[in-house]
Structure formats: structure tokens, C-alpha cells
């Protein structure tokens, strides 16, 4: 394989993992915008997406599509339950207590999953065959195309929801000003619950579409979640489009870094970028600077 082919190969795999990071990152941003919370348990819902699909498909022997739908629904319900049981009862939430609680939730979900499904890695069959296609000299799995397609669809649905539905508009109102939103009659608590539900669903979908490529186990959520957060940070947390770009950029950098520099340090790349951005440009690469108000 010549160099150009190899680079194309890196680009394809980078873009597909990047799309996953983008989906997870959007989940972070949705909750953050509605509540100001960074949900450290976000990655666990990605894991749940993959593991639940494995469970419904391989253990319960459902056909693929119902299994996936069930997985997303279960993860969504769990995300909503998580908010209802741990975040809402908090009397005086501080950033510190929220960090701790969501970390606690993350550990708890991971622990329970380990008890139920064990420590083994499980694989899921690809959505449509494993016959590689050749595109621009590089081989590409059909699953990659599924990832691109589904990610695009989710992003479009997301856009539609936030700009063209009442609930979506209400959630945007909450992100601008919670007090004002509640004064005009928006049920802020319901919106918070909804934001957790939506972002769990998106996380679960990300987990499902990547599982056939990377396999899944009880502990894949930590890294995927953190990478998704990096994507959101690169995008500046607020802008949906920025987060998508951030995810793709991160995926590409990782893929090229692993291929051309060293595969061992692949995971470090995301975190070095994370630190650099937080230190130099905490508002993200794609959004304008905001003045902090005292």
C-alpha cells in the first residue's frame, strides 16, 4: 500500500471515530447547556448502548433492530432515572458535589454492568456484512458508512428538535437564562430531566454504532466519555456545530498520530489537546470569547 492510500485509510478511520466522539460530545453539551453540569457518567451510557445491544441480541436473541431500539430506550430510561434519583434531590448543588455525584454514578453503573455481564469483551455483528469496500484506494468497512449516516441523521434530528419543536426551544431558553425561562412558565426541572434523557440516548446510539468495530466491554465508557468531552471542549461546549467539528478533528488527529507517530501515545493526544485548549482558549476553538461576569 502506498503512502497516499495509507493516509486515506487513516482519514476514514479518523473520521468515523471522530463522528462517535462528536455524538458523545453533543451529549455533554446538551446537559451542560441545560444545567451547567458536566456529566461524568456520560461515557457509561455509551457503554450501556453497546452492552445492552449485545445483551438483547446475543443473550435474549432478539433480531438486531429491535435489540438496538430496546437498548437505546433502556439507556434513555436509565439516564432519566439517574437525574431523577441523584441530581434533582440535591439541596444545595455545587460544582464540586455535582462532579462527585456524577463520578459516583459512573462508577456505580460500571460496577453493576460488570456484575451482570462480567469482565469479558463482547463483539457485535456489523449492521450489514463485513465485506470491505474500496474507496479512493483505501478499504472501508460498511460499518464506517453506517456510522457516518447515523451520526448525520442524529445531528440533523438534534438540530430539528432544538430549533423547531416547543420542547427544544424551551430547552434553549433554559440554557440562556434559567430564571427567565421559569418565569415565562417553562418547567425547568422537566427540561433538566429531558436533557439527561436525550444525551443518554445519543450516548447509547454512539455506543451501538461503534461496538461492531471496536468490540465492547463494561469499561469502554471511561475513555469514550472523556474523548467525547474533549470534542465538546474543542467545540466550546455551546455550539453544536463546533462540537461536531471538534469530534472530527480529534478523531483525525488521533488516527494520524497513532499511524504516523506512535500508537502507544494515541490516547494521550486527546488529553494533551484538552489541556492546551483549557489553558489557552477555554472558550473552545470555534466560538467567540465571552466575558465572565462576577
Amino acid at each position: 500500500m502506498d503512502l497516499l492510500q495509507q493516509l486515506t485509510q487513516y482519514a476514514f478511520s479518523g473520521l468515523s471515530t471522530g463522528a462517535i466522539y462528536a455524538l458523545i460530545g453533543l451529549g455533554f453539551a446538551i446537559i451542560y447547556n441545560a444545567t451547567g453540569i458536566i456529566n461524568f457518567a456520560q461515557g457509561e451510557f455509551v457503554m450501556l448502548g453497546g452492552m445492552l445491544t449485545y445483551f438483547f441480541q446475543t443473550v435474549v436473541k432478539f433480531p438486531a433492530v429491535p435489540a438496538m431500539l430496546l437498548a437505546v430506550m433502556t439507556a434513555t430510561a436509565l439516564g432519566a432515572a439517574f437525574e431523577r434519583l441523584t441530581i434533582r434531590p440535591l439541596k444545595r448543588p455545587t460544582p464540586l458535589s455535582l462532579v462527585i455525584i456524577t463520578i459516583g454514578g459512573s462508577i456505580f453503573i460500571r460496577g453493576i454492568s460488570m456484575l451482570i455481564w462480567g469482565k469479558d469483551t463482547h463483539s457485535l455483528p456489523p449492521f450489514s456484512g463485513s465485506e470491505p469496500l474500496t474507496l479512493a484506494g483505501a478499504t472501508i468497512m460498511p460499518q464506517h458508512l453506517w456510522i457516518f449516516g447515523i451520526t448525520l441523521m442524529v445531528i440533523a434530528a438534534n438540530k430539528f428538535f432544538f430549533y423547531f419543536t416547543i420542547s427544544g426551544k424551551a430547552m434553549r431558553a433554559c440554557s440562556f437564562n434559567r430564571t427567565a425561562a421559569s418565569l415565562v412558565g417553562i418547567d425547568v426541572r422537566k427540561m433538566v430531566l429531558l436533557s439527561f434523557a436525550i444525551s443518554s440516548a445519543m450516548g447509547a446510539m454512539a455506543g451501538i454504532i461503534i461496538a461492531p468495530l471496536t468490540m465492547t466491554s463494561y469499561d469502554v465508557g471511561v475513555m469514550l466519555g472523556l474523548k467525547g468531552f474533549c470534542a465538546a471542549i474543542i467545540g466550546g461546549m455551546s455550539s453544536g456545530f463546533g462540537t461536531v467539528l471538534g469530534g472530527l478533528l480529534l478523531g483525525l488527529l488521533e488516527s494520524f498520530g497513532a499511524g504516523l507517530i506512535s500508537s502507544g501515545y494515541k490516547d494521550a493526544i486527546a488529553f494533551i489537546i484538552l489541556l492546551l485548549i483549557l489553558f489557552i482558549r477555554p472558550q473552545g476553538l470555534f466560538s467567540k470569547a465571552q466575558t465572565e461576569r462576577v
Binding site: I37, I107, F108
Partner: protein, 322 residues
């Protein structure tokens, strides 16, 4: 204030006498770990409980201390005491330099940045195989020696580790009751007001971050020299979270609380031995439940209990008089 020192004297006596109760063996080994964890929890508490700044990467300072000390003494044959000093200074400088950009961040962002730093360090431990031995670890680290005593047994290690842990606790209690401790708590309660009072919040946060890292590095060095073997697995993200759990469960801002938290989390895996693997679930539940219902931790819980029990006496007297 006086009560803290009285408690410390009592605590010291208990620590000194404890080995008599457990005639050596396996339990003593657990107590050695408890000492190391106490040091780490107290160190993190200075940052998290006093200054109110979270770190989800403290295991990396512990690990850096262990690897600096381990590599220099094993590969390059330096005296272990000297390597402990070098580790402390090097980690202190690193934390000081890192502190300025990282502590500019607040809340969730600080949590993520420290977490990211911790993971980078963890990856470096794994990847610099020539230096650290990579995932399979570094073995043959020499024990510490003081005069004619070589610290190679559980009992000797117990006294070695716990003397460091006790000194750490005492210095932290001193600090808590000084102008520095007050300034840190002031930053925690209202950073703006503390600055108006002339507290250089930014510098002080960085200083306490560095101090906390130094104590963790010393604990790491002690760990390396008593265990003689280290591997990256002990210094990962999970351990950082475990440290935060210790501080939260024990009680933010309470030095003895940190001991309680460290003790509980060191014992937990031993207690749950029968139902292995449940410990991670229990950690998660503990973190959630404690933050929700007992935000001041075990120390705060005990203090409340104490207050509840004492007025009862007065209440009884009032009742008798009435």
C-alpha cells in the same frame, strides 16, 4: 483547636500501640497501606477540603514520586533517602509550574484538566518501557535503611510509614489553624471576598497544590521502597477517584476525617473479599449517598452525633428543673 491536638495525641498512642493487638501478619500489611492512604488523603484534603479545588489526577503525583524514587535508586543506585528528596522536589516543582495554568480553571473544567493530566502521566508510565519497565512494572526497588535498621518487614514498615503519616497529619493540623489555613478556607467560601481582604488567592492555591503534590510524592516514594515493586496500574484514574472518595467520605476539611476515609477504603476491599468485585459498586454508592445525605462526611456525622448527644444531658437537667 485544643481538641484537635488532644485528639492527635490520643490517635498517636493508638497508632503506636496498634501492632500489639494484631500480632503481625496479614492485617499489619493492611495497616501499612492504610498509613500511605492516610498521607495521600490528608494531602488531597488540603487542596480539596480547605482550598475547595478538586483534583482528579492526584494518583499521578503519587506515581511520579514512586517512579522517580524507584528508578533513581534501582537503575542508578542512588541512596533511597536521597531519591525520596529528589522525588519530592521534582514533583513539587512540576506541580508548582502546572498549578498556574490549571488552577485558573474552576469547577468542572478543573476536574477535567486534572483528570487529563493524570491520564497523560499514566500513559507515559506505560509507554516509557526502557525507564519504567512499562505495564509489567519496576521491581527490585531497595528498602530504606536508617542506621542499622533495614525497613524490610511489615512491623518495621508499619512504624516507618505511620511516623510519616502522623507527621503529615500534625503539620496539616498546624496549617489548618494558621493564617494560611484560614486564607484557604476563605478562598473556598468566597474567593472574591478573600481577595478583597488581600489574600493572593491564585498564588496560595498554586502553593497548596504543590504542597499537596509533594506530600503525595513522598507517599509514593515510601510506597515504592516498602513494596519493592511498582506498576502503572496502581497510579491510574481509578486510584485518583479512590483518593477523592476517601476525602469526601471522611469529610472535607477534616484531617481526622481523611484518616477515617482512608481507613474505610483500605478495609473495604478486605471486608468485601467474600463478594469480590462488589467494591466498585459500593464506592459508587458511597460517593453518591455521602454527597447527597452527609456532605460533611464521617467526621461531620460524628460531630453532629456528638452535639446531639451532649445537649441531651442539658435537656435532661432542664427537664428536671422544670
Amino acid at each position: 483547636m485544643k481538641r484537635d491536638y488532644l485528639l492527635f495525641v490520643l490517635f498517636t498512642l493508638v497508632v503506636l500501640a496498634a501492632p500489639c493487638a494484631f500480632k503481625g501478619g496479614y492485617l499489619l500489611n493492611v495497616l501499612v497501606f492504610m498509613g500511605i492512604n492516610t498521607m495521600l488523603a490528608v494531602a488531597l484534603n488540603l487542596l480539596l477540603g480547605f482550598a475547595g479545588q478538586i483534583s482528579l489526577g492526584h494518583a499521578s503525583f503519587f506515581g511520579l514520586g514512586a517512579y522517580f524514587s524507584g528508578i533513581l535508586s534501582t537503575t542508578y543506585g542512588f541512596n533511597p533517602w536521597l531519591t525520596m528528596l529528589i522525588a519530592a522536589v521534582a514533583v513539587g516543582l512540576l506541580a508548582f509550574g502546572l498549578g498556574f495554568p490549571i488552577l485558573k480553571l474552576k469547577g468542572h473544567y478543573l476536574a477535567m484538566a486534572t483528570l487529563g493530566f493524570g491520564i497523560i502521566v499514566y500513559i507515559v508510565f506505560n509507554e516509557t518501557v526502557a525507564l519504567t519497565g512499562g505495564p509489567s512494572g519496576l521491581s527490585g526497588i531497595p528498602n530504606l535503611r536508617l542506621g542499622g535498621i533495614l525497613f524490610d518487614g511489615d512491623l518495621k514498615n508499619y512504624y516507618l510509614i505511620w511516623s510519616f503519616a502522623l507527621v503529615t497529619m500534625l503539620l496539616s493540623i498546624n496549617l489548618a489553624h494558621s493564617r494560611i489555613g484560614r486564607a484557604l478556607r476563605a478562598i473556598h467560601d468566597s474567593e472574591v471576598a478573600s481577595r478583597v481582604m488581600g489574600v493572593n488567592a491564585r498564588l496560595l492555591k498554586v502553593q497548596v497544590f504543590a504542597l499537596s503534590a509533594i506530600i503525595s510524592a513522598v507517599a509514593g516514594s515510601l510506597y515504592a521502597h516498602t513494596m519493592s515493586f511498582i506498576s502503572p496500574a496502581s497510579f491510574g484514574f481509578n486510584f485518583s477517584v479512590e483518593l477523592v472518595t476517601m476525602v469526601i467520605i471522611g469529610g472535607l476539611g477534616s484531617i481526622f476525617g481523611s484518616f477515617l476515609g482512608a481507613a474505610l477504603l483500605t478495609m473495604l476491599p478486605e471486608l468485601l473479599r467474600v463478594v469480590q468485585d462488589y467494591d466498585i459498586v459500593v464506592y459508587g454508592l458511597l460517593l453518591i449517598v455521602m454527597t447527597m445525605y452527609m456532605p460533611k462526611g464521617l467526621a461531620g456525622g460524628i460531630a453532629t452525633l456528638w452535639r446531639l448527644l451532649r445537649p441531651k444531658k442539658n435537656g435532661a437537667i432542664d427537664h428536671a428543673q422544670g
